[in-house]
């Protein structure tokens, strides 16, 4: 399965060669002039990526960081490792997240009704790492330095989004970019979650992160930078599409399971992203929350 954004990325590769950046058990990242291209085995579609099956452990297929890769409309290759991924039979999907207009008001009303209960479930099931503690209202200062830095920044961001000030929101976002542990730092995951919610409810503030992504590659990891740029453009991982659809959907019963699935993404990425989604939905639906 391939994201519609991939060809865009590949066409700019003529400028500079593609290189293998990193290899994990079921993920390969390839740098391009336009950000990271990711090949992943599980977890659903990525806005910057290709879902493929390369075997049980991709660290064993002979790839090394730095190897040259090339790509065309038809395939992605790493010649030195004998790896070839054909696009011919692949299904396409669009990472663009936008809810149909007639559903937006219904979804906002639904969210208002279920926000408190959903947050309670998230609080109970979220990981304690990353920015998970911010799902509670009574977090004391001094427990985690990254959380302490994030709190005022998030508070400022929420205020800015509530009054519709994109520039101020982007300023607050800058304080969150690159902040926290993980290959995609917690702050970036939260921002992606917020953007996903804003796009899902078609708010005018959606895309505010675009004002903060100038030179973002110097301020956070390559993967996080790539995902932030996609988020600014309204493009998100498939699992975020599914999560938002469930949170705004008609079936209350499905929400706890959806939250469990979200929390299981990565180590803390899921919790951080979920925190962002809940914040974004609250802001978009006009539900007031105090962070401090």
């Amino acid at each position: 399965m391939i994201s519609d954004a991939v060809p865009r990325r590949i066409s700019r590769a003529a400028v500079e060669p593609l290189r293998v950046q990193s290899i994990y058990r079921s993920v390969i990242n390839i740098t391009t002039a336009d950000g990271l291209l990711t090949v992943a085995g599980e977890g659903g579609g990525l806005p910057n990526g290709i879902v493929a099956d390369l075997g049980p452990d991709w660290r064993a297929i002979g790839l090394h960081p730095g190897m040259v890769a090339d790509a065309s409309d038809a395939k992605l290759r790493v010649p030195d490792a004998g790896l070839e991924i054909e696009f011919a039979g692949a299904s396409r999907w669009s990472p663009r997240l936008a809810a149909p207009a007639e559903l937006v008001d219904v979804a906002a009303a639904r969210w208002t009704r279920r926000a408190a209960a959903t947050r309670a479930v998230a609080r109970a099931r979220a990981s304690a790492g990353g920015f998970g503690p911010l799902l509670r209202e009574d977090v004391p200062y001094g427990r985690d330095r990254y959380v302490d830095v994030a709190r005022p920044a998030l508070a400022a961001l929420i205020v800015a989004l509530e009054i519709g000030d994109r520039r101020r929101a982007a300023e607050a976002a800058t304080r969150l970019i690159g902040l926290g542990s993980g290959l995609t730092p917690s702050g970036d995951d939260v921002l992606v979650g917020i953007e996903a919610a804003l796009h899902a409810l078609a708010r005018p503030t959606a895309g505010f992160v675009a004002l903060a992504t100038g030179g973002v590659e110097a301020r956070t990891t390559a993967l996080a930078a790539t995902l932030l740029r996609h988020a600014a453009a309204g493009e998100f991982a498939e699992r975020l599409h599914v999560l938002l659809a469930t949170l705004m959907g008609s079936d209350d019963e499905a929400i706890p399971a959806a939250i469990d699935r979200a929390v299981a993404w990565g180590a803390t990425s899921g919790t951080d992203c979920l925190l962002g989604v809940l914040i974004g939905l609250d802001v978009a639906a006009g539900v007031h929350r105090a962070l401090d």
Binding site: S22, I23, Y24, R25, V27, R59, P65, G129, P140, R143, R145, Y146, V149, R175, L176, I177, G178, L179, G180, S181, G182, L183, T184, P185, G187, E217, A218, R219, T220, T221, A222, G266, A267, T268, S269
Partner: protein, 522 residues
């Protein structure tokens, strides 16, 4: 002196879950105070800098580089930790946590069917514990109920149902038991013998059982009844049931009851029942009136040590020494009276190291009952009024453990208090309990020793010294090994006592002259 060291790992391709596991492992290495494992983005570098974890070594790191930073006791520990991190990051990587041999069974019913169970160990949140205990009793299982926050009405119903069916409900809020030699909850590996213990206090049971082991005797059964069993409303239901059980048990020759003093009516019930058991019963109601006990034809014991010593002597057929109020057993290990040479010298040396401003005992306890016993012993040694001037704290109490692990499991809470106590210029003695056994931390002495050393160094810079007195509640068969733990503490200059009561006596002896001189004591 804390050393900060850090290393950049530019090409470490571990996913976030593995990074989290590596961070946890590094943080728990000996001598490591704090560790951070993050990508070196500008935002994270700021945080590291504010935490004092940034150094020259990390100056050149960029947002796609991983930084491992540690604050450790010394260079050696820091380097070791970074080496370990390097190893983990370079290796092929784990596939995740290893499979625990866990069953698919989700419900009690399924679990019972699987192994033909006769006992349920329940440690769910209190909200759900009653339902699980009911289900267990209905299936004929005895219940060890660790959970607390169980309403008293539920406890009454459970114990009444248990009585009707001849089953035991140990709890709620029961931390310790040893049944047929199998430790349950926070319990120690104790020699088997003929002494039966019944206790409403978990650490009380632990202390008594460990001392019995130290004195060469053994335990037949140690039955916990839960912290609220002797409350008026519950009426000592389980203690009475356990008394009956052990009274009829051919493997139990004598019984010890351990609790804080119950109300008059419950005390009467219990003492009467104990009187009818037909075996010697030692009553260790901490702070209770011995006269009532003797009047009931039973044997009073004022401290855990006295209870253990008396019981052990009786079980082994040896004379009970009445050298001092504590009661001592003469054993081959030469645990002599509190006035023996080794401890006298230690007391004298400690006193010599103090300056006049230092007079206070700061007790930092992980076991509530041990803290209670310490207060009692200090009251007996120094006088009740004077004893109150010293600060004995139970760090396992709710007010300290909100959002934090219990000090028996995680040393960090107590270490923080220890540093603060050592920094207080009025502190003369820091008094500690170190509890071993199943459920407790893997190396409590090591963690304490490290914190003590740091605190001593800090105090030394202000030209101050202080004494640390501790007792280790454990046995050499415990996973942590009593002998090893005592040695680690001794190497850190800790004055060791074989029991908590004795440790409190030592602390009192150390401060007595200084406190009098400072006008704190009469």
């Amino acid at each position: 002196m804390s050393t900060v060291n850090a290393r950049i790992f530019p090409n470490s391709y571990r996913d976030s879950v593995e990074l989290m596991q590596i961070a946890a492992e590094i943080e728990s290495l000996p001598g490591i105070d704090r560790a951070g494992l993050v990508m070196a983005t500008p935002a994270n570098r700021e945080v590291l800098a504010a935490a004092g974890l940034l150094s020259e070594a990390t100056a050149s790191a960029g947002p796609n580089d991983l930084v491992v930073a540690v604050a450790a006791d010394d260079e050696g520990a820091a380097t070791q930790a970074l080496e370990r991190a390097a190893e983990r990051l370079a290796g092929p990587g784990t596939e995740g946590p290893s499979e625990t041999t866990r069953t698919d069974a989700r419900t009690l019913a399924e679990g019972v069917a699987e192994i033909g169970a006769n006992l349920a160990l329940i440690s769910t949140p209190g909200t759900y514990a009653t339902a699980e205990a009911l289900k267990a009793l209905k299936r004929g299982l005895n219940v060890f109920l660790f959970s607390d926050n169980v309403p008293v009405e539920d406890e009454i119903e459970l114990k009444s149902m248990a009585r009707a069916r001849g089953l035991l409900v140990m709890g709620p809020d029961c931390g310790t038991a040893i049944l047929d030699g199998v430790p349950l909850g926070f319990a120690n590996a104790v020699r088997r013998g003929t002494i039966g213990l019944i206790g409403a206090s978990g650490t009380g049971l632990q202390q008594v059982s460990c001392l019995i082991d130290r004195y060469g005797a053994g335990v037949s059964q140690a039955i916990g009844v839960g912290g609220r069993d002797l409350d008026e409303r519950v009426g000592g239901e389980m203690m009475l049931a356990a008394l009956e059980r052990l009274g009829a048990d051919p493997g139990t020759a004598l019984i010890v009851l351990i609790s804080k003093p119950p109300s008059a009516s419950v005390a009467e019930l219990v003492l009467t029942a104990a009187g009818h058991v037909g075996k010697p019963v030692i009553i260790n109601f901490l702070g209770g009136d011995p006269a009532k006990v003797t009047a009931a034809g039973l044997i009073p014991a004022a401290t855990f040590e006295a209870a253990a010593a008396t019981a052990s002597a009786m079980a082994l057929g040896r004379p009970v020494s009445s050298d001092d109020a504590l009661g001592i057993v003469a054993t081959d290990q030469g645990a002599g009276p509190a006035g023996d040479d080794t401890s006298s010298r230690a007391v004298h040396d400690a006193q010599a190291s103090l300056v006049p401003a230092q007079w206070r005992i700061r007790g930092l306890y992980s076991g509530g009952s041990l803290a209670g016993e310490a207060k009692l012993v200090l009251g007996a040694s120094l006088g009740v009024v004077a004893a109150k001037l010293h600060e004995i704290v139970d760090l396992g109490d709710d007010e300290y453990t909100v959002g934090r692990p219990h000090p028996m499991i995680d040393p960090r809470l107590r270490n923080e208090h220890l540093a603060a106590a050592a920094a207080d210029p009025s502190t003369a003695v820091i008094l500690l309990d170190v509890v071993l056994g199943y459920g407790a931390n893997a190396d409590p002495a090591g963690a304490l020793a490290s914190a003590i050393r740091t605190a001593r160094d800090d105090a030394a810079r202000a030209d101050r010294r202080f004494a640390v007195v501790a007792s280790v509640c454990g046995t050499s068969s415990d996973p942590q090994d009593l002998v090893v733990q005592e040695r680690r503490l001794a190497e850190a200059g800790v004055i060791l006592a074989p029991s908590n009561a004795r440790a409190a006596v030592l602390a009192a002896r150390i401060v007595a002259p200084a406190a009098v001189a400072a006008g704190m004591h009469p």
